[in-house]
Amino acid sequence: MINAKERASIEKVCMIAGKIMLMSGAETHRVEDTMHRMARAFGVESAQVHATPTGINFSTGVAEMNSFLRISKRPTDLNKIAEVNKISRRVTAGELDMDEAYVLLREIELAAPGYTPWVQIVAAALVSGCFAIMFKGEWVDFLPACLAGGLGFVVMFYMDRLLEIRFLAEFFAAFVIGVSSYLFVSNGFGMELSKVIIGAVMPLVPGLHITNAIRDLVAGHLISGISKGIEATLTAFAIGAGVSLIFAFV
């Protein structure tokens, strides 16, 4: 039997691991699996975990006290998921005790994102240009798509900080993409408006939410799957509405 002090630190370690993973965009079934494995490695056989995209419930047994954690921000960072995964492997292999694991996890939680905003903006611009080519566009559409996509990503980045409502940020970013692509093409910079726009909105597409929603639904996590699916649909709607708004004016 574990005493109360041990139980508290097990809860602390498992919760922080789950928190980092959920915030970085992991699938809920992976979060629950990781927390389970770590709890078992610390000697808790029947840990109860329930994770949703917005919160985690954890208790060390059916009749034990329950701890709860609210997740509000979810900036995607796959690197942190991989790092937590490494820690959990070492914990299950018995290489780390509770305190060491907690210190390492805390470091991961506080670590800065792996890529600076500038690198991400450049990546978004390149992605946009490449998608314009992949969707059978001409090379003249490459640069306008790059510029519009990079611009849209910058707007998205700063609007998200300003408004703290992701869907609105996506809407404005898509609107800026629509307007700038229209201006580029009507001034002879770029040939096909639709290719430029499609390429430029691709960095905003909710690919992570779609794949996560499917993975969660398949694994039987119906609530998480459905809520992530709704998140993806709302994002797609915000992008579509924002980008099409330009056609209402011209």
Partner: protein, 145 residues
């Protein structure tokens, strides 16, 4: 020449998405290769051999199996590879066209396109589930030491 352009652009697009999602720096090349393979299969199959929906299913299957192999080999979560690999198959262009027709009050075409988008998303779902099938088979046939 077009094939070469497609190879290069799909590679850059997939690994670029890896950067946007904050994938580990070491995995970016693999992300690009997974995405490139999926996209090239899709590009080869459409429109010559089959419709977009079955082509998307097969391409997504390839992406999910390759991601599974990468995840196993490099001991990182599978999500890193299949998220950036699946991106080229997401029907962004069609969804955009559907939205555009809605805005232009052409609801008939818009609904047609939306139905196709829904089918393609379902196709991606089926393809992604395939890696779960492979995982179960591998686990049952070759139990871990």
């Amino acid at each position: 020449m077009t094939i070469l352009a497609q190879l290069v652009t799909s590679f850059i697009a997939s690994s670029g998405f890896g950067i946007l999602f904050g994938a580990p720096k070491k995995s970016l090349i693999q992300c690009g290769l997974v995405g490139m393979s999926g996209w090239m299969l899709y590009y080869y199959l459409t429109p010559g051999y089959m419709n977009t929906v079955p082509a998307t299913i097969f391409a997504a299957m390839l992406v999910s199996v390759l991601s599974f192999i990468c995840a196993r080999t490099f001991k990182v979560p599978i999500i890193i590879f299949n998220v950036s690999g699946i991106i080229p198959l997401v029907p962004g262009g069609l969804a955009y066209n559907a939205m555009r027709h809605f805005v232009e009050n052409d609801y008939t075409t818009a609904l047609e396109l939306s139905a196709e988008v829904a089918l393609l998303a379902g196709g991606i779902a089926i393809g992604l589930m395939f890696s779960e099938v492979v995982r179960e088979i591998v686990r049952k046939l070759a139990p871990r030491k």
